[in-house]
């Protein structure tokens, strides 16, 4: 695999807001590296600090400690003017789209180009190309009030891409959209990442968004990063309490399971179409009881885990475990709690 180049690095980043009731810490000691060309997810409950975090990346919020390094350049040392130039290489889209209501779709896309001082005719040409990419060429002279939510977000994406940024920051970009439109927008973002090689940072509170397109994910909880890893890793073996809360919502509660034997089977990317458990029952000739399961299908591969109750017999247990290990599944015995 090619060597991963870091495009954005956050080191010891902190943000404290001064309010009337004293200071509130929104971010503490955030260390994060984002690689060029990846789709990186940042997930957290509302109030965890993820929106502040994304605004610190382009310095819309100035961190109170630590540093943001973009392309080898520390942002805290830059003048306002230099910072504005840097922001042109970081596009951003928002939950509420934030389009200019008194401008047409085309004029909205031209807006960042006007700011960058691009000549008018050239800006118009580029804006038309971008609307083509997001599939809205036929709406170029329409005002945002006449567009649906998904179409507005497409215009916003075209606008964010106008100055050919290296990074696209998405702040809850699909949270105001219905599931079908969300899928379409995520597919567009994925396509842009693949075609244009733009690094994408996605802030969300929705697990499904992370599953859908992210390669790596950071879980942010209570102003801190709870854990970082590939989506597969964190999906199958969340280490932090915050991670387990996201990936096994409601399921991973402690349960009274005494007096019998239980195993946890972890699926981390096997073929989703092979009926492993059914085959195991047939082959081992032993009944099992599925107590808990959370399995998701990503790109035709299975991720998640199952907790099985198995017969109270050492030999049967051995057989089952051996069978499952042969199928490349991780198996662990679990006692009282899941």
């Amino acid at each position: 695999m090619e060597k991963k180049q870091t495009i954005i690095e956050l080191s010891k980043l902190g943000k404290v807001f001064e309010t009337k009731d004293g200071s509130v810490s929104a971010l503490e000691n955030i260390d994060l590296q984002i690689y060029e060309g990846e789709i990186f997810g940042i997930i957290g409950m509302s109030g965890a600090g993820k929106s502040t975090l994304v605004r610190c990346i382009n310095f819309l919020e100035k961190p109170t400690s630590g540093e943001v390094i973009f392309n080898g350049q520390g942002l805290s040392k830059l003048t306002e003017k230099e910072l504005r130039a840097v922001r042109q290489s970081m596009g951003m889209i928002f939950q509420q789209f934030n389009l200019l209501m008194q401008r047409t779709a085309l004029q909205n896309v031209c807006f960042p180009l006007e700011i960058a001082g691009v000549e008018k005719a050239e800006a118009k040409k580029r804006a038309e190309e971008l609307l083509e990419i997001v599939g809205l060429s036929d709406k170029k002279n329409v005002y945002p009030s006449q567009l649906s939510g998904g179409q507005k977000q497409r215009v916003a994406i075209a606008r964010a891409l106008a100055t050919k940024p290296k990074v696209l920051l998405c702040d809850e970009a699909t949270s105001a959209l219905d599931p079908t439109t969300t899928q379409a927008i995520l597919a567009l973002i994925k396509d842009i990442n693949r075609r244009l090689g733009i690094t994408i940072i996605i802030i969300t509170h929705e697990m499904s968004v992370i599953e859908e397109i992210c390669q790596r994910v950071a879980i942010i909880d209570n102003s801190k990063i709870a854990e970082i890893g590939t989506v597969e890793e964190i999906f199958t073996r969340p280490q932090s309490a915050a991670g387990r809360k996201f990936f096994f919502p409601g399921g991973a509660k402690t349960r009274e399971l005494t007096g019998e034997q239980f195993i946890r089977v972890v699926f981390d990317g096997g073929n989703a179409y092979e009926p492993v458990i059914a085959n195991m029952i047939l082959e081992c000739k032993a009944p099992v009881n599925i107590l808990f399961g959370d399995i998701k299908n990503i790109d035709d591969r299975s991720f998640g885990h199952l907790v099985l109750q198995i017969p109270d017999d050492e030999r049967t247990k051995e057989r089952i475990i051996t069978y499952l290990k042969r199928k490349n599944l991780a198996v662990e015995e679990v006692a009282g709690n899941v």
Binding site: L60, K81, A85, L100, Y143, P144, A156, T163
Partner: protein
């Protein structure tokens, strides 16, 4: 009562009223619009917070807004003489009208611009827009319909102030109403001037609302 001389007098009155109103509005906007923008920009949550400057301007605007126009006109007599060279007639009235209307317009502009969604400003900042870009390309264009409605309010308010200027010899329909209607008990002439003022206000207000609607792309 309504002879040729009177008709001519009313004609001149209308012309003077329009002259005072429109010129004052124009000049008051020349001061009030930038002042309103500065108030928004320097607000503690604005795009260039300058709390001290903001507070000073805020107090000045409030002081000017709280002095009744009639008294302001009298207080301003020396200033008016210095600027206009005279203290009577429409030209002199314009000076006081501008001083009274500019802070009022600043407040109107301020409230119109406040309606612009903060998210849009943030989006512009994320694209590297400077505060100047944001004022010129975001705040003013996005607030345009509201600013036009505000200007209709401003022009009608200035019109009614201009009638008050008649008291100290400001000219226009207000002076006619006071001189003929009040001092000489010619109720007929008073009613005619009032009717003319109503018609002028209607025209301004209507035009303003129509323009605002035409320029608003939000619906």
């Amino acid at each position: 009562m309504f002879d040729a001389v009177m008709m001519k007098l009313l004609g001149v009155g209308v012309a003077e009223t329009l002259f005072m109103t429109l010129l004052s509005t124009l000049l008051a906007y020349a001061v009030g619009l930038p002042l309103g923008i500065v108030m928004i920009v320097t607000d503690k949550n604005g795009i260039r917070p300058r709390p001290l400057l903001n507070k000073v301007l805020d107090v000045i605007i409030n002081i000017l807004r709280s002095v009744p126009f009639l008294i302001l006109m009298i207080v301003l007599i020396p200033f008016t003489r210095a600027v206009a060279g005279t203290t009577i007639g429409p030209k002199a009235a314009v000076v006081s009208l501008v001083v009274a209307a500019a802070p009022f317009i600043a407040r109107l502009v301020e409230s119109s611009i406040k309606e612009v969604d903060y998210g849009v400003i943030e989006a512009a900042q994320s694209m590297g827009a400077s505060p100047m870009d944001i004022v010129r390309k975001v705040l003013l264009p996005e607030a345009k319909p509201s600013l036009i409605v505000g200007s209709a309010i401003a022009v009608t308010t200035i019109l009614s102030y201009s009638a008050m200027a008649g008291i100290i010899g400001g000219g226009g329909l207000g002076a006619i109403a006071i001189n003929y209607g009040y001092y000489r008990y010619e109720t007929g002439i008073m009613l005619v001037t009032v009717a003319l003022l109503v018609i002028i206000v209607q025209i301004f207000q209507d035009t303003g609302m129509r323009l605002a609607k035409k320029f608003d792309k939000r619906f």
